[in-house]
């Protein structure tokens, strides 16, 4: 192995995830300590911690190309893993690594650039004969042009950021009266998020399923797919739960879609791990949406059903090795579901709820894999994403996985922030989810309540409120808290203390 030391240009759970594989492969790792998270858990997993907490730069280090290259050179890293988000899909960063003789663990800058620019990706897909939703040929110049093109395609349409991803800069437009306003919002959002205001328009596919294929390629021209993931459980285009495989695909559709995913990857000489995203409509027509040129948050579900460590494959390919798998070697076994436990308030439309994780206890049963970057005492800071942990649940089949999922969710204990747990507790009991007939519109259209609470839970909460009222107003002398460790504190006081942090 030429790669001996990897700089992890990322934080949180993905940094921890990458380091687990690196350690197994006996590769050293370097992490970067930042002023925002000086005590973050990922730092403890690396062999070397580069202290960048005195960096006064406005740009966070994980987005600071020059600084990351400096750190890599200074720490003698021979490779950089970008993780997801931040610079993972930045072609310039990938090129800068190469220019400095540092291996970029990911595809070529050319593939990143072509797939990262959605209008170019559309042209490539069109030329390769890949099925796509009808849309504008390139970027849209102004509101008037947007209205004209949308009329031609037919409403509803979706405005997307050319450099976009993760739902930002995306707006669905149903009537021409809304177009002007939405075009401006989408374009502003795109500029802010991606430094590029260009947007394009596509026919909006109503109520599709989001199906994506995991791709693996090497630098010798071999490309295979590792089956699909279903990611239709989303809100505001952000995925909440993913599973593999999808119950919407049979073997023949899997083969057709998989081959097309491989075909488009080959069109950009794709190497490393990547994801080709499709929309699948109710008549099983599918449309190429985009290709993500990085490791995905939801990669573990694919690892579970294929038994292949995707991070290891990324490192091996970056090291110049050929893929040791052929398409016929790939067998999908069992079922995997990933729940993203985020610090979000499901009662406030999934609004982020950053804060300190006071208590954290996660299941350790054999059917659960937990990928996390936090522990008790960690802080979910507002500047980064709201991820607390990913629960990846395994089952023999989908039904078994859902049953295991129910049990696992009840074993998660988090105090300090509100979380998406009540959402998942509801979801796994929802008939439409169990039937597998849900689409990307599920959260918005099919749910009237975003969370589960059993009929007695509100009564117990009322009991506690009444208890506090009595303690405060009736000056009850006996404090009815049964403290196991002999501490004399009312819950009220305890809470005040917690709030002081």
């Amino acid at each position: 192995m030429k790669i001996k030391r990897i700089l992890i240009a990322n934080r949180g759970e993905i940094a921890v995830r990458i380091m687990k594989t690196a350690r197994r492969m006996k590769i050293e790792t370097i992490t970067v300590k930042t002023v925002l998270e000086p005590n973050a858990m990922y730092l403890a997993h690396s062999d070397i911690v580069f202290d960048n907490s005195e960096d006064a730069s406005e740009i966070p280090v994980f987005l600071n190309i020059e600084r990351l290259i400096e750190i890599a050179l200074e720490t003698k890293a021979d490779a950089i893993h970008p993780g997801y988000g931040f610079l993972a899909e930045n072609a310039y960063f990938a090129q800068k690594c190469i220019d400095n003789n540092i291996t970029f663990i990911g595809p070529s800058p050319d593939a990143i650039y072509k797939m990262g620019n959605k209008t170019i990706a559309r042209r490539i897909a069109l030329a390769a004969g890949i099925p796509m939703a009808s849309g504008s040929e390139g970027n849209i110049g102004n509101e008037e042009e947007a209205v004209t093109i949308a009329e031609k395609i037919g409403y509803p349409v979706i405005i997307k950021a050319a450099s976009g991803g993760g739902g930002r800069g995306m707006r669905i437009v149903r009537k021409s009266e809304e177009m002007e306003k939405m075009f401006i919002i989408a374009s502003k959002e795109a500029e802010k998020a991606f430094n590029d205001p260009s947007v394009f328009i596509e026919k909006y596919i109503e109520n599709p399923k989001h199906i994506e294929f995991q791709i693996l390629g090497d630098t010798k021209g071999n490309v295979i797919h590792l089956g699909e993931r279903e990611c239709s459980i989303q809100r505001k285009h952000q995925k909440l739960l993913e599973e593999a495989p999808s119950c919407a695909l049979d073997d023949s559709l899997r083969e057709t879609m998989g081959n097309i995913a491989v075909q488009i990857s080959k069109a950009v000489n794709y190497s490393s791990a990547g994801t080709v995203e499709f929309l699948l409509d109710s008549d099983k027509n599918f449309y190429f949406m985009e290709m993500n040129t990085r490791i995905q948050v939801e990669h573990p579900v694919t690892e579970i059903i294929t038994g292949i460590d995707l991070i290891e494959q990324q490192i091996r390919v970056a090291n110049g090795e050929s893929l040791k798998y052929r398409q016929s070697d790939i067998k999908l076994t069992g079922w995997a579901i990933e729940c993203r436990i985020n610090a979000e308030d499901v009662q406030a439309g999934f609004a982020p709820d950053p804060g300190r994780i006071e208590k954290l206890s996660l299941p350790s049963d054999p059917y659960v894999r937990v990928d996390t970057g936090v522990q008790s005492g960690s802080v979910i800071v507002p500047s980064y994403d709201s991820m607390i942990a990913k629960l990846i649940i395994t089952g023999k089949d989908r039904k078994d996985a859902i049953r295991n999922c129910k049990m696992a969710l009840d074993k998660v204990w988090i105090k300090g922030t509100k979380t998406t747990l009540p959402f998942f507790r509801m979801l796994v009991r929802n008939q439409k989810f169990q039937d597998g007939t849900f689409t990307t519109a599920f959260i918005e259209k099919d749910l009237d309540k975003f969370y589960l609470n059993s009929e007695y839970e509100e009564m117990l909460a009322a009991w506690l409120a009444t208890k506090l009222f009595i303690e405060e107003n009736y000056n009850e002398t006996s404090i009815n808290v049964d403290f196991e460790n002999g501490k004399e504190m009312s819950p009220w006081l305890l809470n005040k203390r917690i709030n002081q942090f």
């Binding site: 998020a193 507002p382 909460a461 009444t466 405060e472 305890l494």
Partner: protein
């Protein structure tokens, strides 16, 4: 302590959706379901923090806010708001509310701290429930803050490009 307080035998916890839970005073440490009493325990330890133990299961609890007789309780990751009333205050409330009817105004508040990206309504505009009124950016996401009611906008306090704290009033709406 005023004598009337000591004579109170019942307390009511009213939820924000007007569900009423009645408890005896002094408070029993059990809750009756059908014909059986189930013991309720409020506990705290280092591993779990504060929790309620009921029917052999632990439920995380937290007191989020308490002001006078109003309590916001986080129970198993869901928050509930109650006002605790005595039989007297409950009676007084009923008299008051029968004269006045329902709340006329709705205050649209910022659900999280963030930056106002855009304000989509003006004063005087009529809005429908679910209509986006303000775009708030927080944690790398732009969030549409929607109208919770049908009504008319009477005041817009949100200004584009300004920062807001959680619970800052963004828009006042007269409910129609």
């Amino acid at each position: 302590m005023p004598a009337d307080k000591l004579n109170i035998r019942k307390l009511y916890a009213l939820s924000s959706e007007n569900r009423r839970f009645c408890f005896s005073q002094p408070l029993k440490h059990s809750i009756r379901i059908g014909k059986r009493d189930y013991e309720v325990k409020l506990k705290a330890d280092d591993k779990y923090g504060t929790y309620i133990l009921w029917k052999n299961r632990k439920y995380p609890v937290e007191i989020i806010r308490s002001r006078q007789n109003k309590y916001e309780i986080l129970f198993n990751d869901i928050s509930y708001t109650f006002t605790v009333e005595t039989p007297f205050s409950l009676k007084r409330m009923k008299v008051l509310s029968s004269g006045k009817g329902k709340a006329e105004k709705e205050y649209l508040k910022a659900p999280m701290p963030g930056k106002i990206i855009d304000v989509l309504v003006r004063e005087g505009a009529s809005v429908l429930r679910g209509e986006p009124l303000v775009i708030l950016e927080a944690m790398k996401m732009q969030n549409e803050i929607q109208s919770p009611v049908n009504g008319t906008v009477i005041k817009v306090s949100a200004r584009a490009n300004s920062n807001v704290m959680k619970d800052d009033v963004l828009v006042e709406i007269k409910i129609s």
